[in-house]
């Protein structure tokens, strides 16, 4: 497929159903059910905010939607194809939850963003003109075109978050999953993020955004989904940050609110193969 013929948000085929469809999904981590009975549809061009407290399961849900977490029950389909059979990864742009784009070896902003182009590159073909144009365009959307030669470690945390968004953009996807891109990002960078996401929205991209609080992104959101204790507690028009974070929000049985307890006698050194149950 020629990349130029397929700009973000302009789906080549008309879809009858939703872009993302989650049906009766349960996810278990280490045998413990974390998500239960999730039903969720995201329509073409929708900007959905997945909200909720820490540990409510919003990140796990996004990871289940992208295939990073196996489903214990139910189905997820993307663009009408079941996740297990899904292969059109170039239509998906994923921004994982990371505090930094840095690793143990220096990497330039250009190199990190170019790695997002792999979904569209044929096996062992060097970067073509369309690839370079897309990488440059992605850097311009997030406002970092002048920093492409710099090492990512030279950027601030908020700028690195924008690099990760540019990396997802470089593949020119139709559907974006962003996991807490605003966490720990200062206000100026949150505004830059909001501006970049606004560009995506205006191009008709479908966006699923995980956020603890929306801040400057609030005006972009078409629909809010609030998670609570592994279930969808609210699915409807956008809500303000103060509503969602109110301690009694959606709390019908506040008298039996039980704090999850951590056992203090958990072993500090475990066998390496025990680690799979963690996180």
């Amino acid at each position: 497929m020629l990349t130029g013929s397929h700009p973000p948000g302009h789906s080549s085929q008309h879809l009858s159903g939703p872009v993302v469809s989650v049906r009766g999904v349960a996810v278990a981590l280490g045998g413990r059910p974390v998500l239960r009975g999730i039903n969720l549809d995201v329509a073409d061009g929708d900007f959905v905010a997945l909200m909720g407290a820490n540990g409510s399961g919003k990140s796990t849900l996004v990871r289940a939607m992208t295939g990073l977490r196996p489903l214990a029950k139910g189905t997820v389909s993307l663009f009408g194809t079941d996740l297990a059979a899904y292969r059109d990864w170039h239509r998906i742009g994923f921004v994982p939850q990371r505090s930094s784009a840095a690793t143990g070896v220096p990497a330039s902003v250009w190199e990190v963003v170019a790695s997002g182009r792999l979904t569209r590159r044929r096996w062992r073909r060097p970067l073509g003109r369309a690839d370079r144009t897309a990488i440059r365009a992605a850097l311009e959307v997030v406002g970092l075109a002048d920093r492409s030669r710099d090492g990512v470690t030279a950027l601030s945390g908020g700028q690195q978050q924008r690099v990760l968004i540019a990396r997802a953009l470089a593949g020119e996807p139709d559907l974006f999953f962003l996991d807490e891109p605003t966490a720990g990002v200062d206000f100026a960078n949150q505004q830059a993020l909001a501006q970049a996401l606004g560009v995506l929205k205006s191009r008709g991209a479908t966006v699923v955004l995980v956020a603890h609080e929306l801040g400057p992104l609030a005006s972009l959101v078409d629909r809010a989904v609030v998670m609570r204790d592994g279930r969808v507690a609210y699915n409807g028009p956008p809500l303000g940050d103060d509503t969602v974070q109110h301690p009694l929000f959606l709390e019908s049985h506040s008298h039996h609110h039980v704090e999850p307890r951590r056992h203090s006698h958990a072993p500090q050194v475990t066998a390496p193969w025990d680690g799979g149950a963690q996180r």
Binding site: A271, P272, G275
Partner: protein, 331 residues
């Protein structure tokens, strides 16, 4: 200098050249994934492989490749299933590898000294068959490391992103682990199993003092690896006319000397970059003029010029001076 023209020395130099190219190439990906010690873990496991070869009378090179590759895959599988305990997984293999190796050597009826040549390298024991194995395996490692650079970079940079981009993350991780195992065995004759990891890691650490991109780090590390490998071998050969010097220590010490010389340059570069970082877009609180300033700020005055919004602030003695008509403002 005529020692350099002996046949065994030429064989050792060829082996060192290719080892010096391959080790930092794999090492760059290991360091990128913050698994700098993985080479050590594989090296220790390979000791058992060598001992197995000596015990069964087969070529230690091939038994070492086999056992090291199995160990590398095991490390990778354990790391993948329990990422919080990757270091413990490495530690378990360290101990198991060394203990198994020394035990098998004893059963083979040899003393631990016969392991010496494998642990710290040797100039004289490289046969022409070994050289061919070294050259071919090194070339495979280098070709894969450079040929699959975009994929390997993406996986090592961010596994979750790579998985959602449709890359087979586990395949590439195990590929790097096996490449590391092959490199360890290749380097066994030159630097030795206990020091091979240094040749994978130290050139990368040295290169990244002065580089900003992944490709330049990889390229420079390979160059430095060749330099350290050949230089250390020659030093060991010259010194061995008087003392018993294994090439492993001299190669590693030469690589470390390169790091020690480069680190101050890196520190200066990092400090300069930090100082040149533009100031935030905030406007000054109020218009505050400086007193009489002894000179005009400019490229020649020696004060750091830092971008601040649409103008330049000159930094000195805890002040930020911005030019404003005839005078300077405090910013």
């Amino acid at each position: 200098m005529n020692i350099l023209t002996y046949d065994f020395m030429i064989r050792a130099l060829v082996a060192a050249l290719f080892t010096g190219l391959a080790a930092p190439a794999v090492g760059t990906y290991l360091v990128q994934r913050r698994l700098a010690l993985m080479g050590d873990g594989i090296g220790h496991v390979a000791v058992t492989g060598v001992a197995l070869g000596l015990l069964t009378g087969t070529s230690p090179t091939w038994t070492a490749v086999g056992v090291a590759a199995m160990g590398a895959v095991l490390i990778e599988v354990i790391r993948e299933n329990g990422r919080a305990n990757g270091d413990v997984a490495l530690a378990l293999l360290f101990y198991g590898g060394i203990a198994g190796g020394v035990l098998l050597i004893g059963i083979a009826g040899q003393n631990a000294a016969s392991l010496q040549a494998y642990l710290f390298g040797s100039i004289t024991t490289t046969s022409s068959g070994d050289v061919w194995v070294t050259v071919v395996l090194s070339l495979i490692v280098v070709v894969v490391c450079l040929g699959l650079l975009p994929q390997l970079f993406a996986v090592a940079q961010d596994e979750e992103f790579a998985a959602v981009a449709g890359l087979r993350v586990r395949f590439f991780n195990i590929l790097v682990a096996v490449l590391a195992a092959v490199t360890v065995t290749v380097a066994m004759r030159t630097v030795g199993l206990l020091l091979v990891s240094a040749l994978m890691v130290v050139p990368v650490a040295t290169a990244q003092q002065v580089t900003r991109s992944f490709r330049s780090t990889l390229g420079l590390a390979m160059g430095l690896g060749v330099g350290a490998s050949l230089g250390g071998l020659v030093l060991a050969a010259l010194a061995s006319q008087r003392w018993a010097v294994a090439p492993g220590p001299s190669i590693v010490l030469l690589a470390l000397a390169g790091f020690a010389l480069t680190w101050p340059i890196g520190a200066v570069l990092r400090r300069r970059q930090q100082l040149a970082e533009p100031f935030g877009p905030h406007d000054p609180l109020d218009h505050e003029e400086t007193g009489q300033h002894p000179h005009e700020h400019g490229p020649e005055c020696g004060h750091a010029a830092v971008t601040h919004g649409d103008h330049v602030d000159y930094v000195h003695d805890g002040h930020r001076h911005a030019s404003h008509g005839e005078h300077y403002d405090e910013h």
